[in-house]
């Protein structure tokens, strides 16, 4: 069986004349924690949207667990967990009711037990009876993560998972991601701006610049070659020349 969980060839998404993602050929192996870096507007979210079957590519192909995201999108979805940036659930329902709905939609058998197991894993069983609308951003992120792993996906896509979280929330989330990867063997595909996150969480990185992949390597090789975290930042800046316009 193919060891690649994510495999794209010449993947391209155009909006009119503007190519948000250009000829992206990228592979992520089973078990990796892949960090996808890039400036604002680099095309990271667009890439995740295509990989999670939400957006049709303009051209090129993408496979998730060997299933085409366009021609076999239903099969691909069985392997996917997705936590959008600023994930939201039904505010007027309790955490448990939300999770029950999504577990059933994913075809999880014995959903109640699975929800308990998942909440225990995320150390937030106490949230179950509470209304999601009353949650802080950190708690919402936790339940957002829960809904994405209920069906024990092979690959979990996270779009800026730490955005808006306080330092404590960031640390908790980082630990959860690492545990998820170790205990369930879940492959992680994570968009981020934060270089500090990458070095602590990821096993490999890719850098996207204006829709093009400009760097791809394992963290091991990167640290071997560049040493400390500050040099990782230098590396990032060297491969992503700042454009005068739009780069905030």
């Amino acid at each position: 069986m193919n060891t690649y969980v994510v495999e794209t060839r010449q993947l391209t998404k155009r909006y009119g004349d503007h190519a948000a993602v250009k000829n992206l050929s990228l592979s992520v192996e089973r078990g990796e924690v892949f960090g996808f870096l890039g400036h604002n507007g680099a095309g990271k979210t667009t890439t995740i949207h295509m990989l999670t079957t939400l957006l049709k590519p303009t051209s090129g192909t993408a496979l998730v667990c060997g299933k085409s995201v366009t021609d076999q999108s239903l099969e691909a979805r069985r392997h996917i967990g997705y936590v959008p940036e600023n994930v939201r659930l039904y505010d007027t329902m309790t955490a448990r009711a939300n999770l029950l709905f999504f577990a059933r939609l994913s075809g999880v058998e014995n959903p109640d037990r699975r929800i308990d197991e998942t909440l225990d894993f995320l150390e937030c069983r106490d949230l179950a009876p509470r209304l999601v609308g009353s949650f802080s951003k950190g708690l919402r992120q936790r339940i957002g993560l829960a809904q994405a792993i209920l069906h024990r996906p092979d690959v979990l896509f996270l779009d800026e998972p730490t955005s808006g979280l306080d330092p404590m929330g960031i640390k908790t989330l980082r630990d959860l991601i690492v545990r998820l990867n170790r205990e369930f063997g879940t492959t992680i595909f994570m968009n981020t701006h934060l270089i500090s996150e990458i070095s602590r969480t990821c096993t490999s990185i890719g850098v996207l610049n204006q829709g093009e992949l400009v760097f791809r390597d394992t963290i091991e090789k990167v640290t071997e070659r560049y040493g400390s975290e500050s040099s990782l930042e230098e590396l990032y800046l060297s491969v992503t020349p700042v454009q005068a316009k739009g780069a905030a």
Partner: protein, 316 residues
């Protein structure tokens, strides 16, 4: 079809959708208003009839004492079904608005909740979501119409002067079916633009504009019925002037003039059709409604299936 595993997500989406819109305040408010008006329509019909009947009975006593011949009871000269003619107006006004809001909220509630990306990454087809929402709408409208039917039936049973025969009951049943069909057209319009519009306001505004056009503008073009007359169940059926203009507009635009089609059907079924009424429309009114409901339903279902699922929320 018939495959329960494949239908499971659809059933789940239907119950979730119905539970969510039941919690929406605008939906609850409009549905309540509609049902209150149904009760009012029933009460007005009942009270007017009882009053006329009471006066008649007293006159009978008086006239008998005077030794005069007794005229027939005027209450029995009109069809009991005509009591409900105000229903037709309430359905096409508040009922249609309620249907638009229900259809719209079936989509808007998920868009506002920001859960579309979570739904669309589940192993189900895009069309499953469309079908689920369409079925949820049919159930919601059926519930509304059934409630109205129960109230009206209770009114008939409470009026001992009236006996509906078998034909009467079946005409009443068909009237509710047609009312449901008419409301579905607007519900599907709400659903369609709830899915297709970029903002929530525009998504509501377009169906409401269509409703205004159908209810007040088209009848004026096709049959010279002014907006105030369009509110009156009987005068809305006045004859169009016998000019060539209205002959042509009535024939050509008539099939699209759904509010008129619904009123014609109501008048036929509830026995308040003026004897002078001449139908000039190219296709039968019931066919217009059926085609419209099926057509708009298909478009709305497709619009939901093809929505942009990447967006958690409406555009800021």
């Amino acid at each position: 079809m018939g495959n329960t595993a494949a239908n499971a997500p659809i059933r789940l989406l239907i119950s979730q959708s119905l539970a969510t819109i039941a919690r929406e305040r605008t939906v609850a408010l409009l549905a309540l208003l509609f049902l209150v008006l149904v009760v009012v329509a029933a009460y007005l019909g009942w009270s007017a009839t009882s009053t006329v009947n009471a006066i008649y009975l007293r006159s009978v006593d008086y006239m008998t004492a005077q030794g005069q011949t007794i005229p027939s009871n005027p209450v029995l000269d009109t069809s009991p079904l005509a009591l409900l003619r105000n229903m037709a107006t309430y359905v096409s006004l508040i009922g249609a608005l309620a249907a638009i809001v229900v259809g719209h909220q079936l989509i808007a509630s998920d868009r506002k909740a920001g859960t579309m990306p979570l739904l669309a990454t589940r192993p189900m087809r895009g069309i499953d979501l469309g079908i689920a929402k369409a079925v949820a709408l049919v159930i919601a409208i059926a519930a509304l119409v059934t409630f109205a039917a129960v109230i009206n039936t209770a009114t008939f049973l409470a009026l001992p002067e009236f006996r509906l025969d078998g034909a009467g009951w079946s005409k009443l049943a068909v009237f509710y079916g047609m009312s449901g069909l008419y409301l579905l057209v607007f519900g599907f319009l709400g659903m369609w633009f709830g899915a297709a519009a970029k903002s929530e306001t525009v998504g509501l505004l377009i169906p409401v504009t269509v409703w205004l056009t159908l209810t007040f503008v088209l009848p004026q073009i096709t049959s010279n019925i002014n907006p105030v007359a369009a509110l009156n169940p009987v005068s809305a059926l006045a004859d169009a002037p016998a000019s060539a203009f209205f002959q042509v507009t009535g024939w050509a635009l008539g099939p699209f003039s759904l509010a008129e089609a619904y009123r014609v059907i109501s008048a036929q079924l509830l026995d308040f059709m003026p004897p002078t009424y001449v139908d000039r429309v190219a296709i039968p009114a019931a066919a217009s409604l059926l085609i419209a409901a099926a057509g708009v339903g298909a478009i709305a279902t497709r619009a939901v299936a093809r929505m942009d699922m990447t967006k958690g929320d409406y555009d800021a």
